[in-house]
């Protein structure tokens, strides 16, 4: 019996990268999974993989910056899967630019996808969880929510916001038996990371090799992050709330 048997999880940005790895792992551990994403093809492919493995999954097309989409996605999850115990606010984008090269539109877009989506999804999920007697919210933050990074100012601002709203939400909703934590990955090998290389005009291979320069001498894998999310989603972490779990191969140790 898996550690998430009987649980229903909604994962934003679940069609690729870290979100996809979380969806696959949670399903293997017995959860029914709803994937909310703009990428319908990718999302449906993950659903198919889960169902081929004997699990239960569903996809909902969702623009996480739009309140009505978020509300609909939460309602859809509850109707399709029968409830919602685990919300993973994982959708995120990155723009590699300083304040000089970041347009207003890009700033607003990064803040909307990375921060406002968490506010919106949590706004609609918390009442569902509270009514059911409890739940778990996991936010994908970043090491760059704890320290600064070069040419990534909108991203750093957004991820710093994620880290501290996690703490604020933990204080607000502990009484409703809702635990709220975030994960701070380092460089993780995902389509988003490879797109970063392109944004910076760097050869992908060199970019990835640099990302492996950390104490554990390898780049992160989506599965590393998914395992941390599994710990936070399960009853094993039932006394853990308001924390930031760094999974980065030691990048922030020094």
């Amino acid at each position: 019996m898996g550690s998430l048997t009987g649980k229903r999880a909604l994962i934003t940005g679940g069609a690729s990268g870290i979100g996809r790895a979380m969806a696959l792992l949670f399903a293997r551990e017995g959860a029914a999974v709803a994937i909310a994403d703009l990428d319908e093809t990718g999302g449906e492919a993950v659903v198919q993989m889960i169902e081929d493995g004997g699990g239960r999954a569903t996809f909902v097309l969702c623009n996480v910056t739009q309140a009505q989409d978020c509300r609909r996605a939460v309602r859809f999850t509850v109707e399709e899967l029968g409830g919602l115990e685990i919300l993973v606010n994982n959708a995120g984008i990155i723009r590699r630019a300083s304040v000089l090269d970041t347009t207003e539109e890009e700033w607003d877009q990064v803040m909307a996808v990375n921060v406002k989506s968490i506010f919106l999804f949590s706004k609609y999920a918390v009442p569902v969880m509270a009514q059911a007697g409890g739940g778990v919210i996991i936010n994908t933050a970043s090491g760059w929510g704890l320290v600064g990074g070069r040419r990534a100012v909108s991203y750093c601002a957004s991820k710093g916001a994620v880290v501290n709203m996690t703490r604020a939400m933990a204080l607000d909703h502990g009484a409703q038996n809702i635990r709220v934590n975030c994960i701070c990955p380092g460089d993780t090998d995902t389509p988003m990371l490879r797109d970063e290389a392109r944004q910076l005009g760097e050869p992908e291979k060199r970019f990835l090799a640099e990302a492996a320069q950390r104490p554990l001498q390898r780049i992160g894998r989506p599965e590393d992050i998914a395992q941390a999310a599994l710990y936070l989603a399960s009853d094993a972490s039932s006394f853990v709330t308001g924390t930031a779990l760094v999974v980065d191969g030691g990048g922030l140790a020094g």
Binding site: T243, L245, L252
Partner: protein, 251 residues
Amino acid sequence: MRGLKGKRVLITGGAGGIGTATAARFLEEGAQVVVLDRDETALRRVERELPALSGCITADVSDAAAVGRAFEELDGLLGGLDVLINNAGISLRHRFLDIPPQEWRRVMAVNLDGVFFVAQQAARRMLAGEGGTILNMGSTNGLVGYHYYADYNASKAGVIELTRSMALELAPRVRVNAVCPGFILTPMQEAEYTPEEQRAFASKLPLDRLGRPEDVAALFAFLASDDASFITGQCLVIDGGEIAGGLASQP
């Protein structure tokens, strides 16, 4: 948890509440477990409670020579080491202005020197073998201030920083992390606080309950497992949300 079956585990302070719960958890995972403690009577009790233990060693971790001898005994029992739970520690409640020098020294000697002596011996063995993981016992007291425990708090802050430096130097074959519990209700704590005092403290926490030794044991099991193989140099807080806000400044 993946990767714990058959692993050789040493737990210092293994006769206390968290140590015993952790020993029980690792035994459930199929590991070979040795507990070390300075309290011989308590060790005998643990031996009776957990007959599957591979051994019990009596030693005071603040004594470098005693730690050396303890590890020689451990070599005989397990032939090597994969996981160290560096948990032995003491706390004394006193106002900063009243701390006698010998009490300051005693707290530092057990909580910081002891962690260092044991970790160094363990790390050498892990590097001579197939690597491993070291988990140091920190505390929320090492991250924020608290009244009446200035020496304990300083020692735990030292453990947390030592953890980071160890992680850098021992990577990639040895992972090192610190676990930072808040208020965990152990037999020692139950003896010290009345049920009313316990409830009063719990009601200040977002999760409205005190921690259990099993909660900390579960975090140790996760961090020691393959599922945490990309986590090093970190301190993981397990506190019911206590330090998420500014509560900790209350006496």
